[in-house]
Symmetry: C2
Subunit: 349 residues, 2 copies
DNA sequence: ATTGGCACTCGCACGGAATGAGTGCCAGGC
DNA sequence: GCCTGGCACTCATTCCGTGCGAGTGCCAAT
């Protein structure tokens, strides 16, 4: 791919095709874009581009359509970052401002993103793994039933019910609560586990030791175990919020080959998360085009995603999913902008 | 509608049409169902049914299709409750058994319902309004920043961040926490508000009173206000879980007129909740057919819903949404079964 | 009231022709 | 050597006309 003009032609094809949803021919190209050459010249370029696999013709007498490879080249080399307008920025900030809790923030981000891009938006809840513990609460719901509440720096709250064998007094609970909190408050989740284990057996009492203080120790151990389990519970890592599904209606044709598999993927959160890929923080937006992934059913859909989190640390991913024929520059800009504002909100909280 | 056989004919038409998705003619009818009469007779009945508005012919030489009115008669008078098989019962129980918290229960129910009915399933989270307060937790995240955690009998946890003007000591917090809990624990949400207000101003201190104890009073008032607000926050009543969207793919034709509006409605949770209607507990399943509701865009979709909640008290609704041409008996049975098991789970928790 | 018979209606599937957008290639010009 | 106008060619799509057949409505007979 040497020729400069050919790249322009490819860019023009992509832009036109995205806009019109129809194969674009040489004549229409030179008319709409100000390339200063004749259709015949463009045809030659198009032939070359087709030869190299960047575009393809659905049938002999139709215009050309970008291939996945073509889109790839387009996003990699032909995309100029299209910054958000001031109005858009204000809209984003305003929209996210009003959120009252983490749930709300995520929901609003999802809606925002889907409205900005007119695509399906996906926002993963911040991961537990890298956040820190803010507070642990122990509540006795019934004499032998405890509720553990784990409050994390990201604003996330995990809860666990715990049945214990012996009745627990309020004082025991209070001291245990204090102990646990001084041990784990502020710690990263991964480390918190260790701290908890040391609490659980301060003197390595055997399981069948006398009653006196072992009750408390047994209790501590049970609580510690439950907390550790809650922290390691990656099930909750899979929590995601999805919005803008109705934008799938604009997928135009190919309901069965495109929309249905996508709807199915949207239900399989694990698949979806794999699709969005590893969280790439720091403003880097990842683009997965068509069949580039392992899911061949999704050969007609693309994913534009990025990571977000306080302080440029990627706690989770967020992005949009749509047809390969999508407005990549616009989507990338929107995804990046929302990720940025979302990160800022998490920073403040 | 007097004639007995005519009803059978209508029933047969509905059943066949639901199964084949194609207009059903007189000949096919007598063949598939064991009505002991000739096609001509059936034709007469069909003419009568059409006259009365229960069925209609898409065009002159096609079979007949049930109208909304026809479906209505069908579900009202021609449906025999089809109980779940033992295997299905076991599957339901097993599937819901493994849930770890409320979120999980709701998610599982949604998935379950969508799989049983092969429709889009909608499950509303239990309402706050009629549940009781289990525990209120106050946590100082920072000297002037409090986190309120409100734990309800349904297992739901609401959180609120609260900025206060003055620093709060741990003791103050502890006494306040104790005070609040003795006041509201076990109370229905509606009553809890009153109890809180009395705490907030034990001696009706004026706002500009001396420092000494007013700090605590001001604090108490602020906390009480935040809690009351959290309790009255019906925004959270709108939380719903949606699953099985990919079943929309089986909507067959009419993407634009049927699927798109439905997808849009699914995003508008408020609309969706209105659609599902008032929670009707106690095993009563409501069916809304086609254009019976105020939303004419949804003239091709039906809703089968019911209420659920511990002890036959309807805390929330749950149901399925699908094409008017759906398996009503099956959907109704599934909805009722899931509601029943879900209620039982909430009972135990 | 039910039934067999029969003429009638229309939607739909099939096939051929016309249409026209778009291409590839070639020969001439800058 | 690259660009350009011209031209013959391709082929999906559209349109129309026809035939088919499912299904109906009606009527006369049982």
């Amino acid at each position: 791919m040497q020729n400069e003009r050919r790249l322009s032609v490819l860019r023009a094809i992509v832009e036109d095709y995205v806009k019109t949803e129809e194969p674009v021919g040489s004549k229409a190209l030179v008319e709409r874009h100000g390339l200063g050459v004749s259709p015949a010249t463009v045809r030659n370029d198009m032939a070359a581009l087709e030869e190299e696999g960047y575009i393809t013709a659905p049938h002999t007498s139709a215009g050309r359509v970008p291939t996945d490879k073509g889109y790839r080249l387009f996003v990699d080399r032909l995309t100029t970052v299209k910054p958000m307008t001031a109005a858009e920025k204000r809209a984003i900030a305003g929209f996210l401002e009003g959120a009252v809790d983490l749930d709300d923030v995520v929901t609003r981000s999802t809606r925002l993103l889907s409205q900005l891009t007119r695509q399906v938006a996906v926002v993963q809840y911040p991961t537990l793994s890298r956040s820190t513990v803010r507070h642990v609460e122990l509540v006795a719901l019934a004499p032998t039933r405890l509720l553990l509440v784990l409050i994390l720096s990201t604003g996330r709250v995990e809860q666990r019910l715990l049945e214990v064998t012996e009745e627990v007094s309020e004082e025991t609970l209070a001291t245990l609560r204090a102990k646990i909190n001084t041990a784990v408050a502020g710690a990263v989740i991964a480390e918190a586990g260790e701290a908890l284990r040391t609490i659980a057996r301060p003197a390595d009492a055997p399981a069948d030791a006398p009653q006196t203080d072992t009750l408390k120790d047994g209790l501590a151990a049970a609580v510690a175990e439950a907390l550790i389990e809650a922290m390691n519970d990656h099930r909750s890592d899979e929590r995601i919020s999805i919005g803008g599904t109705s934008n799938l209606a604009r997928f135009g044709d190919s309901f069965d080959t495109a929309v249905r598999p996508l709807l199915e993927a949207l239900e399989e959160h694990v698949v979806l998360l794999k699709l969005m890929g590893e969280a790439t923080a720091g403003g880097l937006v990842t683009v997965r085009i068509g069949a580039e992934g392992p899911y061949q059913e999704l050969s007609q859909t693309s994913v534009v995603a990025t990571g977000y989190g306080p302080g440029d640390e990627a706690l989770a991913t967020l992005g949009v999913v749509g047809p390969t024929r999508m407005d990549y520059p616009g989507s990338m800009a929107a995804v990046r902008a929302v990720a940025r504002y979302l990160s800022r909100i998490l920073d403040e909280a």
